[in-house]
Symmetry: C2
Subunit: 486 residues, 2 copies
């Protein structure tokens, strides 16, 4: 049963398991105590810190262990911002950071700070020029991930670190996804990571703060971990985390394994669009994590797709709105301006068998077809891809020719599709069904109160070479206007 | 090699170990995911929550897991205070709470809140009347531990909970030390605990917030654990924590084991003062934790004592100033007004052998004698105990008859002992050496810049039936004045 969601959590590495077992017996005592059990625990903790620091590329006294990667980010962001309060109160961060960075930014803003989201291109990459332009005298901190957790795109961390250094602004790098594959280069000031992403146990995050970086930990004080992480040290887990990270890095096979997974991902990137019509593979094809690929399938309900893939034995995740508790699509896909419906993220764990990937490629087209059929997507529309958007339309249910409300009065006359109350991917399916009836050069208006429509209607236009005119408020939800090109 | 510091951390319970191993394979995935590995992890997490809630005596949806007991307290205090901000901003807490409560109170005060420490009696107990008197219209929260971590004294939680309920003020109970022995009775509103205190793994705390208690989690938001504990769930550790707590509670032997340890502690409480001269056993002899006893040895350096006990094979802890990184004595002993020098806390883990306790009673007198001899305490002084304080004095080094500085000018003329620059227990030893030279009814002044002297000179007076006159500022440190009674 292939598990293809290593970016969420990787199964425990055998070395982590072994180290955990050994240190349960040796490392349970309080390392602050002077007696032998305490001294033994302290030795284990010190050794783990040295090993982790070496893998990160920092000094042991620059690194502390936290209870999670999330807490490492929260602590790192708040501690760096507080220490720079006099210099400035603006936090810059890319629009595709992990949600824990976004949430830390919200708290900063609520406390009177300011924040600026840096836009990304369609691959999810921040342009160093954008960072340079945004760096101002009030900038307290820049946060940039090493590589994106949803689409795999690597960020230009080294260049951004150089820009930050020049501006004397600290850079915090969330390295949660990339650290298993190698250290983060460049003159970063703070770095965070999470052990369960590399096959370490849950319960361990890393926070490195390089010497010379001002840092003022927030929250109630606690002597442990240099005052940067409160609570009794979880030494068995810390030892297991460090041992497995060292094992990943020390073996000559790590580079080989990265290359092998990269080839498997390349195969998915190439084959999926050949096998499944109307698919958008997103993220940078070259500058990316070795093991991760994301694609979106037009006219597909993400939750149904995940469910069918699970039934077929494949565990993957999704950034589609219907798979999130908030019913909004992934902020990463939104920032990239790409399709969010029918979204699938495949992240291969260390040691993934090639045969499993081949079987996935075998199963996927059938599963997507089944989901589309159930949604009433005409087979012809799905099969003909971008060639001819108007062909094969049937008079679908759901379109109306009536007025859409007061907001529509000033708009162009034309076809109106009422998709109110309908969830992703239905609004886009309804649009596709009627586009053939729209005279070339004329518009069709889709009324929708589904958050995903805001992202997926423009994305559909880009894929179908239709003109996205824009959005305006409507009595309920919004009215999205599309002009037929051909 | 007997480990007698269960109150710091208990070795892993066999049930915890077994549950941890099993759930490392079953519970590593993200419980928020819809695929089978995620669903399996979710089932484990739900089952652990049910088991832990049953042991705590609350509903499963009232309980969340945190990365430590410390974080449970920090989150509980800040969340309860924030939710009650309109009602009031005063936090009441006992002077003997765990340092994590004190640190949370400091942060509250720094943010504009107010705090009141409730005094305790010489056994370390808060009087419910004191709580009733302190409860005011601006009280936002009361924090009271179920039993003290340093001296074992049980607090009147049930009575205080009733008072709080009457005043419509929530009560947070830190149950870290008592939860292994039974649920906390009464109408508390919030409760915290820590798994490594009962033989669960490190990395797991509990926070229960009873329905109807207003709660507003602070810090960056996070969907996990009802928004009350950020970061990826540590399911294997949580499962192990819950399983071991249930095992402790389910076995009919828990009550027996508590009774057995209580008898062993009674034996220590009785025998230590018989075997070692000049010892003060502190804490309530009856209303207390079953497994914990604390005593202080006059004229003894706590660090040396711990070191010698460790060499003899016994792991214990101490609240003496010389064993803390801040060189101040334990705030618990200070609040109780008891001796802090030569302090030893013995906390017996589940299953402690009676023979180990007997061997401890054999070793202790020899070790204390050796430490006292090294410090130059006259054997006679040490042996004669409180009978005759003046006997056996030699003209000790360190006393001077000179003026102690401007502050002394207004004071009574008399002997002055200059113990400036000397650390605990030397100032008290110097005082004991000269008391025989002081005419009855006259005073002796001890100059000391050691924090422990503030606590230990009055405590010595109480033990020796001498009159402690008071303290006044001196050019360096403070001047402590003692009047000879007999």
């Amino acid at each position: 049963m292939p598990y293809f969601d290593a970016a969420s959590a990787a199964p425990l590495h055998p070395v982590a398991r072994e180290a955990l077992l050994a240190s349960l017996d040796e490392g349970w005592a309080d390392p602050a105590r002077l007696y032998r059990e305490g001294r033994r625990a302290r030795l284990l903790l010190d050794a783990a810190r040295e090993a982790a620091a070496e893998a990160v590329g920092c000094r042991p006294d620059e690194l502390v262990f936290t209870p999670s990667g999330t807490q490492a980010v929260h602590t790192g962001v708040s501690g760096a911002l507080a220490a720079r309060q006099r210099a400035g109160r603006r936090l810059l961060y890319s629009a595709v950071e992990h949600s824990c960075v976004l949430h830390a930014a919200e708290v900063h803003e609520a406390a009177g700070g300011s924040r600026t989201e840096l836009a990304v291109d369609r691959t999810g990459r921040v342009a160093p020029g954008e960072v340079a332009a945004a760096l101002g005298p009030d900038t307290a901190l820049v946060a940039l991930q090493s590589a994106n957790h949803e689409v795999g795109t690597a960020q230009p961390v080294e260049e951004v670190a150089a820009l930050c250094r020049e501006a004397a602004v600290p850079l915090l790098v969330d390295a949660a996804q990339s650290l298993p594959w190698g250290p983060v280069p460049g003159a970063w000031s703070l770095l965070t990571a999470s052990a369960h992403k590399w096959g370490g146990p849950p319960g361990v995050g890393l926070l490195a703060v390089r010497k010379g970086t001002r840092f003022a930990p927030q929250g109630p004080r606690d002597e442990r971990e240099s005052g940067r992480s409160a609570g009794f040290e979880n030494i068995p887990a810390v030892v297991a985390a460090a041992a497995s990270l060292r094992a990943l890095r020390a073996g000559p096979e790590t580079g080989d394994e990265a290359a092998r997974l990269r080839r498997l991902v390349d195969r998915i990137r190439t084959r999926v669009p050949e096998l499944v019509p109307d698919v958008e593979v997103v993220g940078d094809p070259v500058h990316r994590l070795p093991h991760l690929v994301t694609f979106s399938c037009l006219y597909v309900d993400g939750e149904a797709l995940l469910h069918e893939l699970d039934r077929a034995g494949f565990s993957v995740s999704s950034g589609s709105s219907c798979t999130s508790s908030t019913l909004t699509p992934s902020h990463v896909l939104r920032a990239m301006g790409v399709l969010s419906e029918g979204n699938v993220r495949v992240s291969l764990p260390y040691g993934t068998a090639e045969a499993d990937v081949e079987r996935f490629l075998e199963v996927l087209p059938r599963v997507v077809r089944a989901v589309r059929e159930r949604l009433g997507v005409p087979a012809a529309e799905a099969a003909e891809s971008a060639e001819s958007a108007g062909a094969g339309q049937t008079g679908g249910a759901g379109e109306t020719a009536g007025a859409a409300g007061p907001g529509d009065a000033a708009g162009p006359a034309g076809l109106v599709v009422d998709a109110l109350g309908k969830r992703c991917p239905v609004p886009v399916i309804e649009l596709a069904k009627v586009i053939g009836e729209v005279p070339v050069g004329q518009t069709v208006t889709v009324l929708s109160d589904d958050e995903a429509a805001r992202q997926d209607i423009p994305a559909w236009c880009a894929m179908r070479d239709q003109e996205y005119v824009g959005e305006r408020a409507a009595e309920r939800g919004a009215a999205y206007v599309v002009r037929r090109r051909a």
